[in-house]
Structure formats: structure tokens, C-alpha cells
Symmetry: C2
Subunit: 148 residues, 2 copies
């Protein structure tokens, strides 16, 4: 690797961002025009049984305030709602509405379509190799994070 | 790929997030304790000659308001400042302070350290293969985004 090569972190972030934009191109047609890749962070970590805003913020590496704003936007669009947490009536949790569940299914369909199209460019072997390398990378990084 | 396999998008986002957390572990020691991976989005897209908040928001796929809050936080920590845009005196742009430039250099050093350690786990060939696959993936996705 020479000094001019982009770092692996940059390649990872650029690929993830480009994938999210490609997804957003499709979802703007299916769903709300105001949806942005940032809003996917809510759905990415949302437990089907409901999650607290604090849990979503922690999982996404965001402040509670920033995550709360994303949740409020999705709530206005009708994709999620806030309800009392069954485990602690004073706390509130975020759950997907039926419209939100449909949106998630539409997104999953689009993601698989994009991945199939990528397989045509990278080849089935290339795509499989990439999946395996990313899985190992994620495991190693999480181990190092947990026991630095 | 079976239905239970994580999507490629999920693998990309999880790897990028895990890398940013690993980086953050190191940077908290070097820099400000309140820095979070979200703040890197500012530096990732910051032009050394200065960038407008609107350009940073567009590049990161965020709202101007959300990007403005990240910039304000970094400004309070002394890493960036807002100054009049030389090209348009009524507009303002964000530039790194000398402390911000030092922080960027510290971050670059940590990123290379993490990448070197990853090479020991994935092997030099595995790391090179991953870099090449990610570069091609990013190119294909950006082409599809520009001409859907």
C-alpha cells in the first residue's frame, strides 16, 4: 500500500455510503421522498420487539438527541411510533408501525436486487470472497474493540 | 447466499462501524473524550482549503442542520473554525484549526496501525483482495447511482 492509496476505512465507508445512496434512489420511488440514508440507522438497529432511543443511539454511535431527531422524523412519516416500554412503564420504546414493516420489506427487496446486480459485476466468486473477508474483518475489529 | 445470511450492505456498515469504534478507542486517549465516530464525518469530507456546511452535509448524506451541529461541537473542542468564504463574503466555510490538523494526523497514524494489525489476521493477500473488491464495488455503485 502506498501513501496515496485510500485507507481501508475510507474504502469501507465509501462503499457503504454508495450502497446506501443506490438504495435510497430506489426507496425514494417506493417510499417517502424525505427519507435519507441517515434514517436507515434507526431501522438497522431496531429490535422487532421495540428498542429504546438510548439503545438505538448506542448501537449507531450517535448521541441520544441526534437519534431522537431521526426517530421523530420517521414517526411523522408514519414509519415508527413511541409507546410505553412494557418492562418499565415510565420509559418509552420505539416500534415499527405496519407501514414501517412494509417499508422494511421494500428495502430488503431493493437490497437483494442491488446485491444481485453487483454479483454480475464482481462475479459470484468475487462477491462471496468479499462477504467472507468482511465477516472476518468485522469479527477481528470487534474482538480488538472489546479487549484492546 | 441463504435468506439468513446478512446482506452485503449490513456487512459493509458493520465493518465500517467496527473500524470507526476501534479508531475511536485510540483517539479518545489522544484527543477529546467527547469525540464520537459521527464527528469523523466532518473531517472525512472537509476540503483542506475549506468547505461549506452545505457541501459537507451533501457529501455525508445528512441534513444541513445535523451537519451544522457536528461542526459546532468540533468548533467548541477547537478542531475547526468557521470563517467567511473567500469566494463569497456572505457565505461561511469550515476549516481545520492547527489543533484540527494535528488531530487528523493522529487519526491517520491510528488508521494505519489498525490496518497493519488487520493485515496480520487477514494476510497481506487477503487485505489486498479486500481493498480491490471494495474499490470495484464503490465504482460500480457510483456508476449505477449516477445513471440509474
Amino acid at each position: 500500500m502506498s501513501a496515496e492509496d485510500p485507507t481501508l476505512l475510507k474504502l469501507l465507508v465509501q462503499s457503504a455510503t454508495a450502497f446506501e445512496r443506490r438504495l435510497n434512489d430506489g426507496l425514494r420511488d417506493d417510499l417517502d421522498e424525505e427519507l435519507r440514508p441517515a434514517h436507515y440507522a434507526v431501522f438497522r438497529y431496531l429490535d422487532p420487539a421495540g428498542s429504546r432511543v438510548s439503545e438505538l443511539a448506542e448501537a449507531a454511535g450517535m448521541t441520544q438527541q441526534a437519534m431522537g431527531e431521526l426517530v421523530t422524523h420517521l414517526q411523522r412519516c408514519g414509519y415508527v411510533e413511541r409507546r410505553p416500554d412494557p418492562a418499565d412503564g415510565r420509559a418509552r420504546q420505539v416500534v415499527a408501525t405496519p407501514t414501517g414493516v412494509e417499508a422494511l420489506q421494500a428495502a430488503a427487496g431493493r437490497i437483494h436486487e442491488i446485491e444481485r446486480a453487483l454479483g454480475e459485476h464482481l462475479g459470484a466468486d468475487g462477491l462471496q470472497e468479499l462477504r467472507e473477508l468482511l465477516s472476518r474483518l468485522g469479527e477481528v475489529l470487534r474482538e480488538q474493540h472489546d479487549s484492546p
